[in-house]
Amino acid sequence: MDYAVLIELLSASIRIATPLLLVALGGVISELGGTFAVGVEGMMLTGAFGGAVTALVTKNLMLGLLASCICAVLLAAVIAVATVKFRADHMVTGLAANILALGLTSFLLRGLFGGKAPVMGLPTIGAIHIPWLSELPLVGPILFGEPLMTYLAFLLVIPVHWFLRHTQAGLTLRAVGENPEAAFSVGANPHLIRMISVMACGVFAGLGGATLSLQELGTFTDGMTNGRGFLALAAIIVGRWMPFRLMWGCLLIGAATALALNIQGWGLPVSSYVIQMTPYLIALAVLCGIGRKARMPAAIGKAFIRN
């Protein structure tokens, strides 16, 4: 494998990992607070939709990013109210939110533009070459010639880690996910904290969706997230609910996908559909490999009932 291919492969891994990482960071906040994050797929899709439509109408990428967060948080709020206030089952509510997101984005994409889906050729968020650093051999073009959202995603790992590990708010959040009764007895409000954590998850998942529509593709198509939210959930388990580790989980899925895409160019007798299966198969294989070592937050999926 020559040098140029290696660089291409590694930077593709990072590019593919970016939306997964953003979504996984959101998901981990939700899950550590005790709410299963099955709805991230839908939040991601609404984020991608809100970002693309706003950028199309306003011609402003930054407004698009803002809108992607707002749209995803709105969906997250539905999930939060249903699971916290109405004690609805987390898994199935997440699934319902995904269906709702799929339907709403597809419906509004046509409905808002007079019955036909508009053709979008949005300018994508371009690569930012950091002066001097991007000149470095190997790491330069891979790490310092990436677009905005990629820097953001990888830099956000640090504050999220710090928040969860070293701030009182982060510790309270995790306490609510482990034992809401105990957290309640020392004055925390588990309901409020869970609602906030799910909506914070929406902010991250929305940005992850915007990465797809505004940075990768410059357009929105029905169901474009195509299971990436679920891959992010797998990465969370692989990373055992720890931000730095789940970053490696995302990079692993990214690298496997990039490699599979690259293999396609080698002229091997492997069809493109088998290649497309790779990320899902890799995720399943890794989950099986991890087995029971992954311990999820103790009170995840359990409603807190104040009496």
Binding site: A82, M91, L100, G227
Partner: protein, 374 residues
């Protein structure tokens, strides 16, 4: 605080245990209490549907169309002609088949949401049999094709079940990821061994005519699949409420500890209900290719699996109620297509209605009865 919570949990458990034993007795089934429970669940379903139609009306209005006109067109489209009714019944068939399996899974607290993948591989297997068995007469070919489909569906559900039981991979993630693989397998089959050469769309050659499901009412498109769906519902209803297997399933669903105490293997119950749901989804996939398309086509299972979940929920996870719930979604879809043609309201509105209905049902289930958690 923790003591009082423990006590509440205790009551909760007794309550949830009482319910299955009551109904398993069968003698008390006609008591007014049960009748009121059925009414309550029916009311809940109607309330959820009404609310989601009201919310959807807002979205129709946002898109600049008249909601009243749209809904009127939807109703006419669903019930307007014999053809549309036949279309709706055919649509409902796979939903009911897959939905009743999902309902049983959820009853045992097994969150199987892999319907789409199971339907997809079921369709592949049935198509393969239909295409390669052209020497066989129809009365042999059709049952073999459907059996092959159910077998494939069961395998597809069995894989995540095995992952859960041996490696602790949660079935939600396992079944979800298997969906993507299953759907891609259809594409792979159609671009490889089973594809029709020279067709513009990824599809298999037309099946031999003896493999087509016969029409239920001659002169319409309505095929006999709906009979299979009704039989499946009856068998699952009786099996769930009136057999030891169903009792064990309900026991697992109410409390795993009690089930284990009573000597019921939770793992075996888990595996069986997953395999059953997978087989039913496989039948759904077979019926769809053998009865509607007469060939395997790419994306034929699109959204079916999630539909099945929505239907199971709307039915309050009651196997018998899956039939009306599935019919409702079938007619809804038939109507939505007409609405798109006539008024220009995108038919993806049905996913909005489905998603909203699910959210409302889940909320109602969550607060109304703490014994019946999904």
């Amino acid at each position: 605080m923790s003591a009082s919570l423990g006590e509440e949990e205790q009551q909760d458990r007794t309550a949830s245990l009482n319910k299955p034993t009551d109904s398993a007795g069968g003698t008390s089934a006609e008591s007014p209490h049960v009748a009121s429970d059925v009414l309550r669940r029916l009311g809940l379903a109607i309330l959820a549907i009404t609310l989601s139609f009201v919310v959807s009306a807002i979205f129709i209005a946002v898109s600049g169309k008249n909601p009243a006109l749209a809904y009127w067109s939807l109703i006419r489209g669903a019930f307007g002609s014999i053809d549309s009714v036949a279309f709706a019944l055919n649509k409902s068939t796979p939903y009911v088949l897959a939905g009743v399996g999902v309902a049983l899974c959820f009853r045992a607290r097994v969150i199987n949401i892999g319907g789409e993948g199971q339907i997809a591989v079921g369709g592949i297997a049935a198509s393969w049999v239909a295409l390669s068995g052209s020497a066989l007469p129809g009365f042999l070919l059709i049952p073999i094709a459907i059996l092959a489909g159910s077998f494939a569906g069961a395998i597809w559900a069995g894989i995540p079940a095995a992952m859960r039981l041996t490696r602790g991979v949660h079935e939600v993630l396992g079944t979800l990821l298997m969906n993507f693989v299953g759907v891609l397998l259809v594409s792979e089959a159609l671009h490889g061994p089973m594809g029709e050469v020279g067709a513009g769309f990824p599809q298999s050659p037309l099946f031999p005519e003896q493999a087509w499901l016969p029409a239920l009412i001659p002169g319409t498109d309505l095929h006999i699949g709906i009979i299979l769906a009704v039989i499946a519902v009856i068998v699952c209803h009786v099996g769930f409420w009136h057999t030891p297997w169903g009792f064990r399933l309900r026991l697992i669903g109410s409390t795993e500890t009690a089930a284990a105490y009573a000597g019921v293997s939770v793992a075996r119950g888990f595996a069986r209900v997953m395999l059953l749901a997978g087989a039913l989804a496989g039948v759904a996939g077979s019926v769809e290719v053998l009865g509607v398309h007469y060939r395997l086509i790419q994306g034929f299972s699109q959204g079916f699996g999630f539909n099945a979940v929505a239907i199971a929920l709307l039915a309050s996870l009651n196997p018998a109620a899956v039939l009306p719930a599935g019919l409702f979604f079938g007619f809804l879809e038939a109507g939505a297509l007409a609405m798109q043609r006539e008024i220009g309201v995108p038919s993806s509105l049905i996913y909005v209605i489905q998603g909203l209905t699910m959210v409302f049902v889940l909320c109602a289930l969550g607060i109304s009865s703490r014994r019946q958690r999904v």
